[in-house]
C-alpha cells in the first residue's frame, strides 16, 4: 500500500502546481493612458481560419493606418488577437479571458455560433462589440452593445430575392444550405423572402459543416427541376459543391450570397465557378476607388487578395475611430448609444470605404453589388442602392 501513498502525493503536488501556474499566468499588463486596447477574438484555426485570417490581417492594417496618422484622439491603438478556433466553447473561454484585460471595444468573431456566445459576455461587461457575423438572430435580442459590419441576413436576403425575381426571373429555386447557425438563418430568411415573391422552393437541401461529398445534393437539385440553385455554404464547402456540380454537368443557373463568389471559393473551385452569379454586400472588386486602393495595399502587404471579411475588419476599426472622435472621449456606454441610428459617410471617415448606416439594433445598411464570375474572376455587374429603411430611427 506504500505505492498508493506516494502516488497520491505526486497527484496532489501536480494538482497544486497546475493551479499555481495558472494563477501566475493570469496577470494582466496595465493599460497605458496613451494607448487604447482593442480585443480581436476571431477564427484563426478550425473551419473559419480562412475568413478569420482575412479579418485579422485587415484589422492589423487598419490599426497601422490609424496609428500612423496619430491614433484615436491622440491615443495609439493596441490590438490583441485571440483565436476562437471556430468553436463556440473555446470562444467563450477566450472572450472571458480577453475581457479581463478591460478592452475599449471587442471585434469579431465571424462565425455566428461563436458570436452568440460572446455577445452575452460583452453585454454583461458593457463593452461595445463589432462582429462580422450574418445570422439574423444576433441583432434581435435587444443587446445594446452588438453591431455588425456587413449585412445581416434579414437585409441581404430581401435584396437577393428581388434579384432572383426581377433579373433572373426564377420560378423555382433549389436551396442548398449548411446546417449551422449561419446557414440555417440564411435559409430561413431566404425561403421567407422567396415565398413572399411567389417563387417556389423546389428543393430544400441541408448539408453538414466540413462536408466533403456533395454528389447526392447535386442529384437532388437536378431532380427537383428548379430553374436556379441557390447555395449558402461556407467557403470550402461552396467550392466542393461547385466542383461536384460541374462534375455532374449541372446546367441551370447557380446563384449565391457573398460567400459563393468570394476569392477563396474562386481559388479553390477554379473554372467550376464560372458563370456563378450572386449578390454581395462587400467585394474587393467593387468599382469604388477606396476599396480598390484597400485591396491593392492589402495584397501588397499579405500577398493575397482580400475577401469581404477583410473589408469588414478594416471598416470595423474605422467605425470605432469615427464614433469615438465624434464623442471626443473614450466612453463605452456612450459609444454604443452613438453608433445606433447613425450614418458614417466616406467624407467623414474615408476608412469606412463606403457610406454605412446603423439602425437601432446594430444592423447595417449600405449599397451592395451584383456580381458574376467570368474566367475565374468576380465581375461587378450592378450596384444595388441602400435599402434606406433603418429600423426604429
Amino acid at each position: 500500500m506504500q505505492v498508493s501513498h506516494s502516488l497520491k502525493v505526486w497527484a496532489l503536488s501536480a494538482g497544486a502546481g497546475a493551479l499555481g501556474l495558472m494563477a501566475a499566468s493570469a496577470v494582466v499588463p496595465a493599460q497605458n493612458a496613451k494607448t487604447v486596447l482593442m480585443i480581436n477574438a476571431i477564427e484563426l484555426s478550425g473551419g473559419g481560419a480562412t475568413v478569420g485570417t482575412n479579418w485579422r490581417d485587415a484589422v492589423d492594417m487598419a490599426v497601422k493606418d490609424i496609428n500612423g496618422a496619430g491614433g484615436i484622439l491622440g491615443r495609439k491603438i493596441i490590438v490583441k488577437h485571440f483565436d476562437t478556433q471556430s468553436k463556440p466553447g473555446i470562444s467563450k473561454a477566450v472572450i472571458t479571458k480577453a475581457l479581463d484585460e478591460k478592452p475599449y471595444v471587442v471585434l469579431g468573431p465571424i462565425y455566428s455560433s461563436s458570436t452568440k456566445v460572446n455577445m452575452v459576455v460583452t453585454r454583461r461587461a458593457g463593452v461595445p462589440h463589432i462582429v462580422g457575423s450574418e445570422a439574423a438572430s444576433i441583432t434581435q435580442t435587444g443587446n445594446p452593445f452588438i453591431f455588425r459590419t456587413s449585412f445581416g441576413q434579414s437585409a441581404s436576403m430581401p435584396k437577393l430575392a428581388n434579384y432572383l425575381k426581377d433579373e433572373v426571373k426564377a420560378k423555382s429555386v433549389a436551396v442548398v444550405w449548411v446546417n449551422n447557425a449561419f446557414g440555417k438563418g440564411g435559409r430561413d430568411n431566404a425561403v421567407k423572402e422567396l415565398k413572399a415573391r411567389g417563387i417556389a422552393i423546389a428543393a430544400d437541401i441541408s448539408t453538414e459543416v466540413q462536408q466533403a461529398d456533395f454528389s447526392a445534393e447535386v442529384v437532388k437539385a437536378k431532380q427537383s427541376g428548379a430553374d436556379v440553385l441557390f447555395a449558402y455554404l461556407h467557403e470550402e464547402e461552396s467550392a466542393r459543391l461547385l466542383i461536384e456540380l460541374k462534375k455532374q454537368g449541372y446546367d441551370k443557373q447557380i446563384v449565391g450570397e457573398t460567400t459563393l463568389t468570394s476569392q477563396k471559393v474562386l481559388d479553390l473551385a477554379k473554372d467550376a465557378a464560372n458563370g456563378v452569379k450572386g449578390h454581395v454586400g462587400l467585394t474587393a472588386d467593387a468599382n469604388i476607388p477606396a476599396i480598390r486602393e484597400f485591396a491593392r495595399r492589402f495584397e501588397a502587404a499579405y500577398g493575397r487578395k482580400p475577401d469581404h471579411n477583410g473589408i469588414k475588419g478594416y471598416v470595423a476599426v474605422h467605425v470605432v475611430k469615427e464614433i469615438t472622435e465624434r464623442m471626443g472621449k473614450f466612453d463605452q456606454k456612450g459609444f454604443a448609444d452613438a453608433l445606433h441610428c447613425t450614418t458614417i459617410t466616406t467624407e467623414q471617415e474615408p476608412g469606412v470605404l463606403m457610406d454605412i448606416s446603423y439602425d437601432k439594433n446594430g444592423d447595417v445598411d449600405r449599397a451592395s453589388f451584383l456580381v458574376e464570375v467570368r474566367d475565374g474572376k468576380q465581375v461587378v455587374t450592378g450596384v444595388l442602392p441602400k435599402l434606406g429603411n433603418a429600423v426604429g430611427c
Binding site: 498508493s4 497520491k8 497527484a11 501536480a14 467563450k92 479571458k97 446546417n179 440555417k184
Partner: protein, 314 residues
Amino acid sequence: MNAQGFKRLALAAILAVAILAPLGLKNYGVYLLSLWALYAIAAQGLNLTLGYAGQISLAQAAFFGIGAYISALATTAGMSFWLALPLAGLACFIIGALIGFPALRVQHHYLAFVTLGFNVLVFLVLRNEEWLTGGTYGVANIPRPALFGLSLGGPLAFYYLCLALLVLMTAMFWHIVRSPWGRAFAALRDNPERAASLGISIVTYTLLAFAIGSAAAGIAGAAFAPLVEYIDPTPFTLSLSLAFLLMVVVGGQGTLTGPFIGAALVTLLPEWLRWTEGYYLMVYALAVMVLMVVCPSGLTGLFDMARRRWERSP
C-alpha cells in the same frame, strides 16, 4: 499513517487548493476552474465505466449534452435549477441503461461502437429538432441559479457551486468503489470469469456502472449550461467524447485522482503551454503518445513507477 488516511489527506489537500486557488484569479481563471470541475465530474463517471467496469463508452459527450439541454430547457421555462439538476442525472441514467442493456448483452467492446453511434445520433437530434432544442439557434439566456436567496450568478460563486458538485460526486464515487458494489466492480475488472463464478452478474454490474457513469456526465452537463449561459449542439460532438476518454486514460483509469489530473490537463495545459503558441496541441499529442508507450496506466501510474525507481536507487 495508513494508505487510506493518506488518500484522504491527499484529497483534502486538493480540495483546499481548489477552494483557495480562484481567490487570486481573474474571471478567466475562475471560468477555467469551473470547467475543470465539471469535466472532472464527467471524467469520473467515465472512469467508473472504463476503469472499474472495463467498458469503453464514446457517448460521454452525448450525456453531457443531454444533461445540458435538460437543464437549459427546464430552467429557461422557469423550473428551478435544483430540480433540473437531479432530473438531468436521472434521465441520463435511464437512457444509459436503455442503450447499455442490448449492447452489453453482446459481449466484447461493442458498447464502444454503440455509444459512438449514439453520440452522433444525439448531436443530429439536438441540431435538427428545432421545435424542442432550438436547433442550430441553440438556447440563450440560461439563468444561473440561486441558493436560499443567495445568487450564484457571479463567476466565483458559480465556481464554488461546481466545486461543491464535484465534491459530492467524488464522495459518491468514493462510496461506490468502497461498497460491496465497488468490490464487485473490482472483481469484475480483475477477473471476469472468477467474478462470474462467484455469482456476480457481469451484465448487471457493468450496466449499472455505465448508467451511473452516464448520469454523472448528465449532472456535469446540467451545470455546464448555466456556466456558459448559451448552448448549441456544437460542443457535444464525438470529439468531446474522445477528449473525455483521453482525460481518463491519461490521468490514470481506475484511480480516484486520475480523472482530476486528466481533466486538469485538458483545461489547464493550454495555459502552461502558452509559450509554444501554435504548437500546443502537437506537444500535447506527442506527450500522450509517449506516455501511452512508456506507461499505459497513465500519469498516476507514471508517478508510481518513478517512485519505485527512486526507492530502489541507493
